[in-house]
């Protein structure tokens, strides 16, 4: 599957990013102002406008190569939303999107760092490390940043997972945000993200987030997740303006529709 290219910085886009989200509802309005509504979930359309400036020769070359491979609006590609948390159900670790280890107990309603009760407790009752992971149909060769707020009653070392990459993080009694940036197998068409809890330990978790960039941004709670398969370019033309040596700018419009 064709994938949208990252820039040399590991970012997928630059500011400003504009995003339009369209739904479709059929509304029959009566004279007294009351109405009957019918939703059409298949009518959902999402559009992005990505404006780039000061791109290097290599970066604009990658965009041109991608545009040629997509043949304008013809071919679909996988697009990780640069404004989104890529993980689905980031606030509900008991959803099917998540795969917990067989000896890992996942329980909700735990106090979170924002004062709510949206955190989760991962309790490992086994004699070996257990993990909770989510696999996304996203390009494994991207640079990703995985982040989460964690705490535990006793000091432990938790492990963050991005593909086959692992990073140990010390966790203690206070909430703290742990971050791990890595990329996976360059040829892979899916990549897993997760947390591993050591044996006979428990870990409170809030705000799991994966982003297609080198550093973590503000936590965004999700249901759908931010990977859009079969997205398309909105136009058959790509206009590039060169403003100096090794300095290029362009605007890319992308669309994703459930019914396409």
């Amino acid at each position: 599957m064709l994938v949208y290219p990252q820039l040399g910085t590991g970012a997928l886009s630059q500011f400003p990013v504009r995003k339009n989200h369209h739904m479709r509802t059929v509304v029959n309005t009566a004279l007294d102002g009351s109405s009957v509504k019918l939703a059409d979930p298949n009518g959902e359309v999402t559009e992005w406008q990505l404006s780039y400036s000061d791109l290097s020769d290599g970066e604009i070359g990658a965009l041109e190569q991608f545009f040629a491979a997509a043949e304008g609006t013809l071919n679909g590609f996988t697009f990780p939303d640069p404004t989104a948390n890529l993980l689905a159900w980031s606030g509900k670790l008991d959803e099917n999107a998540w795969t917990p280890g067989p000896l890992l107990t996942v329980s909700g309603g735990i106090g979170d760092p924002t004062g709510g009760t949206q955190a989760w407790r991962l309790t490992n009752t086994g004699a070996g490390a257990q993990s909770i992971t989510q696999t996304l149909p996203a390009p494994a060769g991207y640079l990703y940043c995985l982040s989460a707020y964690v705490r535990t009653a006793q000091a432990i070392t938790a492990t963050m997972l991005i593909g086959s990459g692992r990073a140990d993080r010390a966790v203690a009694g206070q909430w703290k945000r742990v971050v791990f940036t890595a990329s996976g197998d360059p040829q892979g068409s899916s990549i897993g993200f997760g947390l591993e809890v050591p044996p006979a330990a428990s870990l409170d978790v809030y705000g799991l987030q994966a982003e297609p960039q080198s550093a973590a941004s503000v936590y965004k709670a999700t249901t759908r997740g931010g990977v859009y398969e079969n997205a398309r370019l909105s136009a058959d033309a790509l206009t590039i303006t060169t403003t100096g040596v090794n300095r290029h700018s362009c605007t890319v419009n992308i669309i994703h529709a459930n019914h396409l």
């Binding site: 500011f15 339009n20 989200h21 739904m23 004279l31 019918l38 999700t222």
Partner: protein, 119 residues
């Protein structure tokens, strides 16, 4: 019943905020110039234009999630009028489109129109 999301400051709107109240009446004019008026609906309906700027990424995502969860104009939710604190329990988005702009880090903007429903 879902509730319209508040910003981190607990506010639901920023300045400038606009509010509309609309009655629905009919007027019949007779040949002698006199008129007879009557109500089409028993009570007025309210509408709020909410333009938001300088939002962080989390606030933007929460608003987009709310819009998606409601399937645009389809879903109903309760909305607290920022002018007087009155809770309107039967409201929805006016349109099926939401435009979001991330102009910089923690500089997101969007606008929404909330309408009160009848029935």
């Amino acid at each position: 019943m879902a509730t319209f999301p508040a910003l981190k400051t607990s506010a639901v709107a920023q300045y400038p905020a606009r509010k509309y109240v609309r009655f629905q009446n009919q007027t019949l004019r007779f040949v002698d110039g006199t008129e007879q008026r009557f109500r089409d609906a028993g009570s007025p309906l309210h509408r709020w234009d909410i333009a938001l700027s300088e939002l962080d990424e989390g606030e933007m995502a929460a608003l987009e999630e709310f819009f998606t969860a409601n399937q645009g104009a389809f879903g109903n939710f309760s909305f607290t009028d920022p002018w007087d604190g009155h809770v309107y329990t039967n409201c929805s988005m006016q349109t099926d489109t939401m435009a979001l702009a991330a102009l910089g880090e923690m500089r997101g903007s969007t606008s929404l129109t909330v309408v009160e429903n009848r029935g």
